[in-house]
Subunit: 760 residues, 2 copies
């Protein structure tokens, strides 16, 4: 854990330059716009420790799988988020001496991420080895208003010298993925050009053949006057630049405006990329930094109006929650149904493939409540489009008849992951797709989604479960053997309660969906039955039989559900009784020891209770929470939020606040010592849920919003906004009351603390 960032309601602030923290800051201060993103690397040369990272949404590379021991069924490729061509480089040499903070005395260093504006800035004074002293103010953003454009304003003042400055303004596609399995480079050059004032490189990914054209253009203002300088154009492999010589005068400033345009063949025909890039560069340059920024800030202002959470009386909590919302918003805007939410967003490339069940289980509620319903719908459609691949994936593992098994990690629908205990056995994820539909329909009322897309997916998933269960003659029940539940500190267990529950629920929900679609659109239904060769009578009869006779492990004495068969054979020890030097377990204990211990990585039984809360009495929830919570180590960033929500419901307010702190500042305080690899984007949605569903107690029941708020004693007040069926509602919770304000749309009947209330 590190606490070097300054608290502030709207800004993330780093003061003073510590090279050891640089990779962490590069992650935290990342900027993105849903289409592309950029770690907070320096524009000028930096020879110290850094992880240079530029990313373009939807562009991936299927890296050849690396394993020690091959298991039948492993995928041959792991689709990776690609480190993409960089447009930010502005190298500076002063009479031949390079400006490189690794070799300078750095003073007044300040890195600021202004979340309100979506602007990254960095200011410092540097003394070079020669004694030359410069002052720099660098700002940049990637435009939310124009997803293919980024802009830099780089302001430099020579404080104590005059010199010939050589600026290298580059676009560089000769980049590598740090996690390349076989030290390969994934990009090949297609086209490059460097002309006076601009340059571009089109690079193509190997195998997948995505083309990305990255162009740059720039303007120089020397002592207030536009200048061209003396320009040299250079081309190297996968690289193009302009070198510009200008005469710097002591005390007179130089401002460089650099514009980047990043175009992907996912959005434009390959053959037009270069011309289009040229045109967009001209347009960006003509518009200029200030006007581009203005449009960008406007977008953010609107976003914050929809999605802000304000907390009074706890600046660290305030900063934390805004940081989470900010990162989520700049990772995924929901405009493009081909995209999804990578676990590291645009802040790093670790964990390769972009889509996990995190999206459905954690992110969907956030986008549902803070964006137009089309955004969440696009997330569902994304999985609909992957259905053929999910069927293929199931087939590879021996399933038949159109059973659909969604991958654990994916880019294009194909499975990427290769740990058998996860890839093959963490099967609950396939039903996350079903749960997401229910969540979406509950929130939006859009049952017709089932007719258009949903039912087809549900039938595929139900066919999977129908084949995955088996009849235990011994138990006289259906059982699900050899699985890994959400708690990945158990592998290959039998009858994981969460999995059995979710599997059976999916079969029930599919029946509900069938009933709806048949009524809603009989023709469409018949077409589906034909196309899927759906033997309704036979298949649904079996599903009903499974639902009726599913086995659920439980401990009747304690009145708790059992995480899996045999759980009670473990030594039931509390986390509180562990020696501090044993934590975190995943770094201190060997894997087998973790597996046979009772310790829980992330909510499992409790996750299920959270998802199907209304199926359980308060007493049942309490008994299970009291049993499992003390054994949970929360070594997954996705865990504490579920505990906040349940603890809040149970009135365990102190616990709720304690869990909230673990999640809200996870990356800002580098809680798990891994922020340098990138931020934990998907779990940030959990933080949002912790406030809105946890403290705010928001639920949707039968189409109605319910709230049951409480306020942590440390806070003066907090408020959040949600979008719900055409309204924007602001909920403000203070010590003594809760206000609900209709900010737009028609009046709405809600339920506040169990009582009906009209908002508006």
């Amino acid at each position: 854990m590190k606490q070097y960032l300054k608290p502030d309601a709207w800004q993330i602030i780093e003061e003073g330059f510590d090279p050891h923290l640089n990779r962490i800051s590069e992650s935290v201060f990342s900027i993105g716009n849903g289409r592309m993103g950029q770690r907070a690397n320096f524009e000028e040369t930096y020879s110290g420790d850094t992880h240079q990272g530029s990313y373009v949404a939807g562009v991936y590379y299927p890296d050849k799988t690396r394993v020690g021991w091959w298991k039948n069924g492993y995928p041959e490729y792991f689709a990776k988020v690609l480190n993409a061509p960089s447009w930010i480089g502005i190298k500076i040499a002063l009479d031949g001496e390079s400006l490189d903070l690794a070799h300078c005395k750095v003073e007044d260093f300040r890195r600021v991420l202004d979340m309100k504006q979506g602007l990254l800035s960095r200011t410092f004074t540097a003394t070079l080895p020669s004694g030359r002293k410069v002052k720099v103010d660098a700002r940049r953003f990637v435009s939310m208003a124009n997803g293919e454009v980024g802009a830099i304003r780089y302001h430099l003042v020579p404080l104590n010298f005059s010199a010939k400055a050589r600026l290298t303004l580059s676009v560089d596609a000769d980049v590598v993925n740090k996690d390349s399995n076989y030290d390969e480079k994934f990009w090949e050059e297609v086209y490059k050009e460097s002309q006076m004032g601009w340059a571009m490189v089109t690079a193509a990914t190997k195998k997948t053949n995505f083309h990305v054209c990255t162009g740059i253009e720039y303007q120089l203002i020397l002592d207030g006057k536009t200048t061209r300088g003396k320009v040299y154009t250079n081309l190297r492999e996968k690289y193009a630049d302009n070198e510009v010589e200008v005469e710097l005068k002591e005390g007179k400033d130089l401002i460089v405006f650099k514009y980047g345009v990043v175009l992907s063949s996912e959005n434009h025909p390959k053959e037009y990329l270069a011309n289009l890039c040229r045109a967009k560069l001209e347009e960006a340059t003509a518009t200029g930094f200030d006007k581009l920024l203005e449009a960008h800030v406007k977008w953010w202002a609107h976003k914050w109006e929809e999605a802000d959470i304000s907390i009074e009386g706890d600046i660290a909590a305030q900063q934390g929650i805004r940081f989470n919302i900010f990162q989520l918003m700049q990772t995924y805007t929901g405009e493009d149904e081909r995209l999804n939410i990578g676990p590291k967003g645009f802040t790093g490339e670790k964990y390769g493939g972009s889509t996990y069940w995190d999206t459905e289980a954690y992110c969907l509620p956030f986008y549902l409540a803070t964006s137009d319903p089309g955004v969440a719908r696009n997330l569902l459609v994304y999985r609909y489009k992957h259905l053929p691949r999910a069927i293929e994936n199931a087939k590879k593992l021996g399933y038949t008849s159109g059973a659909a098994f969604y991958p654990f990690v994916t880019m294009n629908g194909e499975e990427c992951h290769n740990e058998w205990e996860i890839t093959f056995e963490e099967i609950h994820r396939t039903s996350a797709m079903a749960y997401a539909m229910r969540d979406y329909i509950d929130y939006t009322g859009d049952w017709k989604y089932l007719t258009e897309f949903g039912l087809e997916v549900l039938i595929g998933i139900s066919r999977f479960w129908s084949q995955r269960v088996n009849w235990s003659a011994d138990k006289g029940k259906y059982v699900i053997l050899g699985v890994t539940g959400p708690n990945e500190y158990e592998n290959n267990v039998n009858n994981n309660w969460y999995t059995n529950y979710l599997g059976a629920w999916t079969l029930r929900f599919t029946q509900q969906a069938i009933d709806f679609v048949r009524k809603d659109n009989a023709g469409k239904y018949q077409e589906l039955v034909q196309r899927l060769q759906f033997r309704e009578q036979e298949e649904t009869t079996r599903w009903a039989d499974i639902v009726k006779n599913m086995y659920y492990p439980e401990d009747k004495t304690r009145g708790v559900y059992l995480q899996q068969d045999g759980f009670l054979d473990k030594e039931l020890i509390k986390v509180a009784d562990l020696r501090p030097e044993d934590r975190p377990l995943n770094q201190k204990w060997s894997w087998d020891r973790i597996l046979r211990s009772c310790f829980i990585k992330q909510a499992d039984v409790l996750q299920c209770i959270y998802l199907f809360e209304d199926d359980f009495s308060i007493d049942q929830i309490k008994r299970n929470f009291d049993f499992y919570e003390p054994m949970t180590v929360h070594e997954s960033s996705l865990s504490p939020c579920v505990h906040v929500i349940l603890a809040s419901k149970l009135g365990y307010t102190e616990k709720a606040y304690e869990f909230y702190l673990r999640t809200a500042r996870l990356d800002l305080d580098d809680y798990n010592n891994d922020t340098e690899d990138g931020c934990h984007i998907t779990s940030m949605a959990g933080t949002w849920m912790a406030v809105v569903k946890g403290f705010g107690g928001m639920r949707v029941r039968e189409g109605k919003l319910h709230f049951h708020p409480f306020i942590p004693p440390q806070w003066t007040s907090y408020s959040f906004r949600i979008e719900f069926r055409g309204r924007v509602i602001k909920v403000r919770v203070s010590k003594d009351k809760t206000d609900t304000i209709l900010e737009s749309g028609e009046p709405l009947d809600i339920v506040m603390n169990g009582k009906p209330v009209r908002v508006g």
Copy 2:
């Protein structure tokens, strides 16, 4: 399955050259002498498909581990059997035209492994692209009488031409391991020399710095006369040779005698290797091929007298069993307690590390009965010497107080393997060391081994079990969670019956050993108590409590032991009901499907019953055999032999013979389609057991030999020899009677079919 080898009682014969079978033959026709070995590669150039392999016992390289997903506790290195410098090369160019069977018309090709003599020979007539026709007769062996010497007699006749022949007689240390994790070469050059008539290279392994000096010397006989030819000496990196020009005359033969000397720094000081090599080369050359062979054949004659099994009336079975005995004998001679029995012996490098529990569970009985007791004892001492590493290994996984956890795969005592479900969880192997002691003591009566070495190991292992079990409050019993049993088609199960049984038995046996050693040598015992900080009272009390309260899963209705908790939740299907296209499961089914199926890779419950046969009634054995046998797929080569032994005991004679066939010709018939990687050396001991313990019904009970033979109807008779407490006894079983003949030593009282008999 392939059946291209000709049946013969004493020889393995390949007739006709099929390049597609070459790698298989290179494995099957391998020769070795316990110190070094060599795949049956050609001496001359061969540009076709080949796996060149030379091996030196005890020389290994710790290759950096490669995994997809690192688990805490994995070893950083995997010690690998090394592909070593080759001494066999004799390249031949005829007027510049290379003799390379890949480019010749090959006639009368015959490769023969004479198992009686330990001699590999190869004869053929080849027509080169130019039309030149040569006849070759190449013979070689690595001497059993002198473990550091190999010899080749290469006889060539130009049938239809005269030519200037250039022979390249090389020693080549520029070799690679096919299974190198990062495509590295593991050898570095130390020294090389090439002089008229001889050459040598000393190479050192990276990291481990073993030195191996490989020298060659040769003699040429041209048309009956010794000749020197015109000699060019060459040195390249890690390589030395003599190129010799001689004038070949049509119809006149050229005989090349090439001698190889391979010296390892494991056996000689590094600084003397080169001089010693030179001296040994001179000695070998002076002795000459014929005399060297004579001594070698004499060794084999003696060996066959001790260890032969003859089978009349079934030539394929006869060839199979002799091949197995031959390979075992040339892999491990038992002279060096630092060595062990690699799963591929000197026939290939797959499976890296050399020592598995195969040695204790399968190989030990073979060496006990066919060699001096010192050989088996050395196998035990090998593990004693690894005790400190086993303790270190346990410590790494969180065990304390001198608990010893033997590795699953090792070269020097350190764990090499890196699948968590095996490395960390297949824990039964640590007790294989204890069982081997009991087996050894039962057979030899040498209880004093416990005083000298055994008890120290047993206390370490018992300490491991004492910490590995945990108390299940739910069951009111000790349980062992998260293990993999011998049946590796189950992973991370709870209460594997075999493991629980073996663990508790180890604790009992250790108490027995304590009682013995205390009486046998009180001083030594006290010294041990001190050194191990053995709190006898406290520790043995806990052990006794565990023994008393161990949990054993069973199905009381069926009267069978359960392989593990939850086994009855599976669908209990018979192998006979599988579709043929689903076999072998490990190639056709995804891993999760295998895991949750009932199918058993290798004997598990039955393995335990085999090991502790006398603990169970015939009825219990029968019920368990009848339950598990139909679900066993025998996809491990170690499985069928156990079934032969139990089936024989139960009078299931047909089944016994059927299982025997699976094991006896596994490599000769390339049953599993993997002989090209090398032969399955350790399972060959299982074949021997199948005959002696299975058909012969041999057991040792309270120091007495028991037999209970039967003869498969397909056989006329069979006989085997065993060494037992100073005697050699031959047992000959025919249709109507069994003869026992005392071949050496004092008369002995044995039990034949339950009745006492005196032999001799």
